[in-house]
Subunit: 462 residues, 2 copies
């Protein structure tokens, strides 16, 4: 993050352009309007509580497509459409259980558990096997087939709590969930359980996707709460202890779903697109409030605020609700493919997929040099945004917009404060009660302000 | 806040002193230790849940004196003491009620209400009178005695939601609560009700202090929830509607209480004191978790972390738990008086009294010029603290430490993110459930880091 300061130092100076006051005034209008009149919290309440968890291929996901299409239509945008994409359909089913069994005493206790997306389902008898605890994929590979075959692998490396940015802590541990079951299956494991991805010690299990390779012999893969992971680890190694896993997950045929797209067409440079977006789909066990209903309503609110303030953009402002970020990225890939086929140019894309918490700025994708070249006006922008606690630092983008990188524009990610994100992420607690209305609205205001500046000034070089 | 950028521009440059890397390394040690090992959340749980609301003169307040004295003693500081101060004793008593009565229909409904600190109690019959709604002290004064005498004044100006800093929004409205009842009493009002000080529309009443002048004819003063304020306003004006107020508040004799003080004596400049503190007392209806248990445990954690890392300060680091911030400031005033009598010099004082939310930096009291003179090292400090999202901006201090201003040191206030503060402030919701452990710990780490830098480098001029 020291780079951020370096950027500040390089780009800032005391000479301000004449129009800066006007820009600051309009940004204040954006903030005032959003804090007083935004509908994003109400929209998010519908998305997360009425519609609920929206896993790709579910009835709820399709309802969310219709609901956000309805919102965009109500905003009198210049065009609103749905874009077909084919999504995988994984269903959790009705039951899931993990328990520890002491074969000597016959004692057993049930763990707080949730099945991971793409997990194989067990039959009704379930799977019972000895446990091997590991803390990394390397440790697993070193143990090798002899130690792993016929066993259940227990991944138990905690997230690194000393990282101030919790996304970095997530990145330090999530390989266990994403790739662990695949690697374990190659070594003959009959199942895997993963310590939940959270900085907290609590009883809440966190789901999320795991990825098997095409030739893998798929196995059941489930997550347990951090408290239970600690408890289980304290009992190991013990030859009389084994683990029992049962779940009713199943994979159905791919299904057609949709991205939802709305735009205000630019008056001067309609071919220069500024995209705002989030992903509609969410995990099924919560309401997908922070992940990523918040991002969806942030993007919708950008459009609503620009319309309400009667702003006529020079460039095309496009709002995209992406489908299937959680388990496939089909929406983001489809969108980029079609965009490339149509020779479109996304001058900038801003994704909000880090929660509805108090915003601290934007990350921007690319090298400091590239950002400098693209950003002739950044010194004034920083001066305009910093009173709202908004900075711009290197490292941006988002899973859904990253496929647009080849078009050469800038990719931004909204950066809310990250401390609470993994208290809720992929859990039953990701509900509207975990969202503060002002914090959510401020994210929308920050995005609208950046869109305004990008639209008004464009980038330095194309 | 543009001034903040100006400061950045003035003070930052690219030449870093050789010791900066060492400093950054120690700050990282502070953060790592605090995030992994801090006890502040556990201490706050005891303060806010076991001991609970700690209004000056209450049993709970005295228990909190003993508890924090116990914590300081356990930290093996060089000195721990209690400092006597005389505190006012206001008690809420057992009952409080506000209801609206329609004298024509006989209908009545009860409002969500709480008595303000220093309110006069009513007798058991209560007070019933016509209502006059006003939105400012000026409006009230213009109405004058003819319109006000014998009536209940209803202050209903909302906090300004468009201010991003909610403390500014609080400042824009709190004169109604702090001074409104006094002004109303001078005009012959028989009671006052005040719209609760919060940016939210909800059913939660917010208490807080109101101040009568010595010659005032004290009257009952209570706050109602924002939803009820809106509802009541929608019924006015209506000559058949009157308001009924009842509460059992009483004021007892002043009582002796204590500040709690602990210090690590400086090895080279023991006469240069760096103070960290918060206030022990809180309103009675909640647990005083954010206000200001968080500030107390922040300050205690600074001492614990310095001890745990075996840091030997050059200057004296003093931790103060102030008593009676909420309704009198007796602790802060007494502390400064004794300090001045002893010719002490507080080179710096840092108060945490803005909640236990994710920290965004420090405000520092004084002019930009004074800060520049005092802060020869601020360019490196900013570089060290900014990776943790910590800035330093003008405008600091705190109610308890402001009386130390005449000693000529710098007064800092910790600045947590303010969006959620007034969801809880002075309500029954200000409990540990509203506090996130990582956010709380990060505040302590930020304060410890600033103490370390202040201790190592001192100030530019005395």
């Amino acid at each position: 993050m020291t780079l951020r300061l370096t950027l500040l130092i390089c780009f800032m100076n005391l000479s301000l352009f004449a129009q800066t006051d006007d820009d600051a005034f309009f940004v204040k209008e954006i903030y005032d309007y959003t804090l007083e009149n935004s509908l994003c919290y109400d929209w998010l309440t519908i998305l997360s509580e009425v519609i609920g968890g929206r896993l790709s291929g579910s009835f709820a996901a399709e309802t969310s497509v219709k609901y956000t299409y309805h919102i965009m239509s109500s905003l009198a945008l210049d065009a609103v459409s749905k874009q077909e994409c084919s999504v995988p359909v994984w269903q959790r089913g009705d039951y899931e259980m993990v328990k520890v069994i002491d074969d000597t005493s016959g004692n057993e206790f049930v763990l707080n558990a949730t099945t991971l997306g793409n997990s194989l389902g067990t039959n009704e008898i379930g799977v019972k096997a000895p446990i091997v605890e590991v803390h990394s994929l390397d440790e697993l590979k070193e143990l090798g087939e002899d130690e792993i075959k016929g066993k259940i692998v227990f991944f138990n490396r905690p997230m690194n709590n000393t990282y101030v940015n919790t996304f970095r802590a997530y990145g330090s541990a999530v390989d266990q969930r994403a790739s662990g079951p695949s690697v374990a299956s190659k070594l003959g494991a009959v199942g895997t359980i993963v310590r939940s991805m959270t900085t907290k010690l609590d009883d809440i299990p966190h789901t999320g996707v795991t990825v098997f390779e095409p030739d893998d012999n798929m196995i059941p893969a489930m997550a347990i709460s951090t408290n239970d992971a600690e408890k289980l680890a304290s009992m190991l190694p013990n030859p009389s202890i084994s683990l029992y896993m049962q779940n009713s997950a199943r994979i159905l045929e791919n299904q057609l779903s949709h991205n939802v797209i709305g735009e205000i067409t630019g008056s001067q440079y309609p071919d220069e697109i500024i995209l705002v977006g989030g992903h509609l789909d969410s995990w099924d066990i919560g309401g997908g409030a922070h992940d990523d209903g918040a991002g969806c309503v942030h993007a919708l609110q950008v459009m609503a605020t620009l319309k309400a303030l009667n702003y006529k953009p020079k460039r095309t402002i496009r709002c995209v609700m992406f489908m299937n970020e959680e388990n496939g990225l089909s929406g983001g890939k489809t969108y980029a493919d079609k965009s490339n086929q149509n020779s479109e140019y996304h001058m900038a894309a801003i994704e909000s997929d880090a929660g509805g918490f108090s915003p601290r700025g934007f990350g921007v994708g690319g090298t400091a040099d590239a950002i400098k070249t693209k950003f002739p006006n950044v010194r004034e922008w920083m001066d305009i945004l910093s009173p709202y606690g908004i900075g711009i630092s290197p490292g941006g983008g988002g899973a859904d917009i990253n496929p647009l990188k080849s078009q050469g524009g800038l990719l931004f990610g909204l950066r809310p404060d990250s401390q609470r994100y993994f208290d809720y992420h992929h859990t039953a607690l990701d509900k509207i009660a975990a969202v503060n209305k002002r914090e959510l609205s401020l994210g929308a205001a920050a995005m609208t302000s950046l869109v305004f500046l990008l639209d008004k000034y464009g980038l330095g070089t194309r």
